[in-house]
Symmetry: D2
Subunit: 136 residues, 4 copies
Amino acid sequence: MSGAEIDNPSAAAMYETDAAIHHLGIEIVSVDEGSATVAMTVTDTMVNGYAVCHGGLVFTLADTAMAYASNSLGSRALAASASIEFLRPAYADQRIIATATSPHVGQRTSYWDVAVTNPNGDTVAIFRGRTKVFDG
Amino acid sequence: MSGAEIDNPSAAAMYETDAAIHHLGIEIVSVDEGSATVAMTVTDTMVNGYAVCHGGLVFTLADTAMAYASNSLGSRALAASASIEFLRPAYADQRIIATATSPHVGQRTSYWDVAVTNPNGDTVAIFRGRTKVFDG
Amino acid sequence: MSGAEIDNPSAAAMYETDAAIHHLGIEIVSVDEGSATVAMTVTDTMVNGYAVCHGGLVFTLADTAMAYASNSLGSRALAASASIEFLRPAYADQRIIATATSPHVGQRTSYWDVAVTNPNGDTVAIFRGRTKVFDG
Amino acid sequence: MSGAEIDNPSAAAMYETDAAIHHLGIEIVSVDEGSATVAMTVTDTMVNGYAVCHGGLVFTLADTAMAYASNSLGSRALAASASIEFLRPAYADQRIIATATSPHVGQRTSYWDVAVTNPNGDTVAIFRGRTKVFDG
């Protein structure tokens, strides 16, 4: 999906200049007001010494889902904190998907739950994060 | 630093086949039994739409410090969970450093505290994670 | 509700000897397989020096919801870790309610999301925890 | 220790009206600028259906250590979030001790690490929390 095809204007604007997710090959699957789904295919350069996807890159996918969900609300927001539970490894060539929804949206601080799943529908990780709106 | 120069044999073995950290340009600064320091220079392909380093990549650096510290103990271990607090952004061209130490090493489960700092010595993020030894 | 009225047999058995929740006045509102709702009225002895309910007791209510939800599945389980975000204070005389559901139930390790709400339906806290089955 | 004996004036003032910790029998062992140690003897009314101290009350002790450490700095602060890892149970009649120190003190937001230990010096739990200064 190119940025032009993202329905949500805030998310589309952010996507245009988001070098990191382009470089990682993260796709924006969908962005609605207050939720987002993103996907990434695990490449050979993403695996660690145990032949599983680096946990940091699984986190990065979840964090990206949160970023697009939080920015879909119209204000600019950045991650303030997050926690992740790794339930099973992801492997090279798997396309993993992360979906973010919110248990609580506040004026400036919002919370996001993200589930990362593999092509079998098994949960790879669960993530909970907090974003803060910033000005300027 | 090449893998051959890492004093700790478990960490050196892991480093040889760790494609992810080579691809991200993460250097192993030092590995001692139960601690590790790693570093990464934020490149133009690591910044997001707000011109700051993607939080997922800051997490990835911290997670890598934990991985090398936990594997320095001689058993193979993987991250089971982690949480991170983002204190200030990291920017392109900054070399950020992550050091992992442990508040509690157990037989199979250990905990790790990681601080990520920028070239000014300011804290970029604090991270706490849990690793589990695995067999095979 | 007395223990005898709790439909779920594992939860009813646990309730009989659970001195802590009796002492705190925590009520078991409902326990179904894989979920539980509990409630507590904030008393004058639960408030701190700022006249709000001690955050530890809000956590205790959430943790109790997790305990009854996880033990409803038939195996004995204990909390292994948890995190909480405090969204707004709870005050003396408020009856606060915590409901636990699971984003992932595993063989031995399960995860639980708990929301704590006040009588206006506002969220006091969100909590995520991990339980482990134990033997003996 | 009575409130009058607490050297730190902010902590002493808070202690006077802190009904919750008096009711739970939590003692303030020491408060220095930016750190605090508190203790609690696990009573028969603090154990759950598995004859171990309710994890919520272990959290409450850790949270109290954070509260006194954060308020020792002169500004009024409340807990905003916290996470805890339960390493081993605490039992009735054990006096458990929690010590809070800070990996990062900010203008309004600070972070605190708390270790809870039993009389053998074994770690019962490790805790990390975040406090925010409030006005009025």
